[in-house]
């Protein structure tokens, strides 16, 4: 008799938000209400990438909401990843300008905690937690997008450090940030192209760095091309082990891909839609958002437990970014693309920034391949 064998589904284990998160959420909401009352920012879609406001970041730093999970000796507050999640999702839902500290708080800080030297941590982390030191990420190159291991920027050993040559592109905020965590080839290409890559910190105000704007189709300037010519990086600015860059970069991906910014980029538009109509179309979007948040929280909990939920993170980002664009499309039923409609500005930003949602941090096609490979 044909027997059905037990299934082994993907595991997304949600943990309840800690008690402290309730009070924390109320604090963040009160802060945001004050900021809005003072017109300190205008809520915008996709503000986590385009809303660069160092003074806002510093105000968050004063409240202890940057580097929240880091040890106190590095300026952190030693709070849990789920508490940080609460702060981050409230800021995103409000469309607050969080871009200036985004990379440092989400990614570079945790990377330095994991792989950085004591000197690097002392030098950068406290400033990041105050919202005073901003980072950019130098991964993609003109000929290396999804195929990141093909990067050609080289680091050659010189007296006391390394000399970098090459070009990075799509570097968000490089024209405003202080430093760039940069993936380079530090050893010649061998049989295994994942070997011989390293991560180094480039001082964006230093010699040998040229930053050119790449304007988006909106005309706005977030992206840059960063050209490195005989750019000197001291030995002390190599992050982690030489040649381990690939391993280090891929370990960042679960942090980069599963956060609430992967489904809340168009939330201000959805909130406005919901308030305006309460229709079935909004009900469907709300159901999706609720589900995504559960999945994303499960990944956050897994990260907190020290697991590496790379596949789960890829799945969340694929679903989440498609949802963000669905919100944009569905909104048309309300505003009809009419420029004088109150929702039009949210729509315009969501639509015109939209192509980036399903590209940045790993294209949806790459993500789906990651998920498919894991299925048994």
């Amino acid at each position: 008799m044909p027997v059905l064998e037990p299934v082994s589904p993907l595991r997304f284990i949600v943990e309840e938000l800690p008690e402290a998160a309730v009070a924390l959420r109320a604090e963040v909401r009160a802060f945001l209400a004050e900021e809005l009352a003072a017109s300190a920012f205008i809520p915008r879609c996709d503000a986590w990438l385009s809303g660069w406001d160092p003074t806002f970041s510093r105000r968050l730093g004063e409240r202890g909401w940057l580097g929240m999970t880091w040890p106190k000796r590095y300026g952190g507050r030693e709070r849990s990843a789920l508490e940080r999640y609460v702060v981050v999702e409230e800021l995103l839902a409000a469309g607050a300008p969080v871009a200036a500290h985004w990379i440092a708080d989400r990614q570079t800080g945790p990377l330095l905690l994991r792989y950085g030297t004591e000197e690097q941590r002392m030098r950068f982390l406290p400033g990041m937690a105050r919202g005073e030191i901003q980072f950019a990420i130098g991964m993609s190159e003109p000929d290396s997008g999804s195929d990141l291991a093909s990067v050609r920027t080289t680091a050659k050993k010189v007296e006391g450090g390394w000399s970098l040559d090459g070009t990075k592109v799509w570097t968000s905020g490089a024209h405003l940030a202080d430093a760039m965590i940069t993936l380079v080839r530090s050893e010649p290409l061998g049989d295994d192209r994942h070997l011989g890559l390293s991560q180094v910190i480039v001082d964006l105000h230093g010699q040998g760095v040229e930053i050119r704007p790449i304007r988006l189709l909106t005309g706005e300037h977030h992206f840059n091309e960063v050209v490195l010519r005989d750019c000197f990086v001291p030995d002390g600015m190599v992050v982690g082990a030489l040649g381990d860059g690939w391993k280090q970069v891929t370990s960042e991906l679960a942090y980069e891909r599963s956060g609430p910014e992967r489904f809340l980029s168009t939330f201000p538009l959805l909130a406005a839609l919901s308030a305006a109509t309460g229709s079935a179309a909004v009900g469907r979007l709300a159901a999706e958002l609720w589900t995504l948040r559960r999945l994303s929280l499960a990944v956050a909990a897994a990260l907190q437990r020290g697991e590496e939920p790379a596949v789960e993170a890829a799945l969340v980002k694929d679903l989440g970014t498609r949802f963000e664009r669905e919100v944009t499309e569905r909104s048309r039923a309300i505003h009809g693309g009419e420029p004088s409609h109150p929702l039009f500005e949210h729509y315009r930003r969501s639509l015109l920034e939209g192509p980036g949602f399903t590209l940045r941090g790993g294209t949806n096609e790459v993500l789906r391949s990651v998920v498919a490979r894991s299925l048994r």
């Binding site: 308030a275 159901a287 679903l319």
Partner: protein
């Protein structure tokens, strides 16, 4: 997920693997399976979330028994102070003395009639059954009862039925994903397994995402069955059911829509369950109306 629920799911999986092979599924109702499940007492004193765990696993095996309906019936009886007889019981939405689409009414030991005024327990002999089936061939009977008295109770079957079907959809999807991944591994064309083709791999990824989303939504609603969460879960699971069935059949090719293949035991249920106790559109409308200005506050 708590330790208890994980263990419960494991025990349930072992039970259904042994006692619910595809031959039993094909019968449409199995008194033997019902007895085995009753004896195992898996749902004895279970919380809603624990019950959902067992029901989800039962749906991974398309178990042809009204386990969820029996649990709902017992819940309504307990709240009305009516003593419950031995099962399997079922539930029906009664308008006056008639109910349509009552699951497994023909074999039930009693029907809990849920109506506008309250709840009543109907015993065989006090009602007449006209047999009907849903798309999957599951018994969905019309019932006409003799006049009966109700215990006044504000009870809404549709709400709890929607939660039940959402949970069942999540379980059936887990099976559909497994069957489809296996098919993509085993079936070779152009000299390689189907899953090597990127077009197929991406379909599998999408199927996995729909499955994970449905599971997350159903679990969340079962853990805290507020109306808006049940609405959201039925919407999301219903959407997943349709998308997943399409992908599964596409990847399976022609064999997947033959009678001999097991896939339709699950896809036909998905197509039935997404409509039963309210479609996505109906629940989305409820949800949209509930949230309005309170979208973010409610979700968090």
């Amino acid at each position: 997920m708590s330790e208890v629920r994980a263990l419960l799911a494991e025990s349930a999986a072992e039970l259904f693997r042994r006692h619910c092979p595809t031959e039993v599924v094909a019968k449409g109702w199995s008194a033997e399976l019902w007895q085995v499940v009753e004896r195992a007492e898996l749902t004895e004193g279970a919380t809603t979330a624990e019950l959902a765990e067992v029901l989800r696993v039962a749906s991974q095996y398309a178990a042809p028994i009204p386990l969820g309906e029996d649990a709902l019936a017992r819940g309504f009886l307990a709240r009305s102070g009516i003593e419950a007889p031995a099962g399997p019981l079922t539930v029906g939405d009664f308008y006056d003395r008639r109910a349509e689409g009552v699951p497994f009414a023909r074999i039930a030991t009693g029907i809990v009639a849920v109506g506008l005024e309250g709840v009543a327990l109907l015993r065989p002999g006090s009602y007449r059954v006209s047999e009907g089936v849903n798309l999957a061939g599951e018994p969905r009977d019309a019932v006409e009862a003799d006049p009966f008295e109700v215990v006044p109770l504000g009870a809404v079957l549709r709400r709890w039925g929607a939660l039940l079907r959402a949970v069942q959809i999540a379980g059936a999807l887990e099976r559909v994903l497994q069957l489809t991944v296996r098919q993509a591994d085993d079936r070779r064309q152009f000299g390689q397994p189907l899953r090597r083709f990127q077009a197929i791999a991406h379909q599998l990824a999408e199927l996995a995402a729909e499955t994970a989303a449905a599971r997350a939504a159903a679990d969340a609603a079962a853990e805290d069955p507020q109306l808006w969460k049940i609405a959201a879960a039925k919407v999301r699971c219903g959407e997943a059911a349709g998308r997943a069935a399409t992908i599964a059949h596409q990847v399976h090719g022609a064999i997947g829509f033959t009678d001999e293949h097991v896939l339709h035991r699950f896809t036909l249920r998905l197509w039935s369950w997404r409509d039963e106790f309210g479609t996505e559109e109906e629940w989305a409308s409820v949800l949209g109306g509930l949230l309005k200005e309170k979208l973010w506050e409610t979700l968090t």
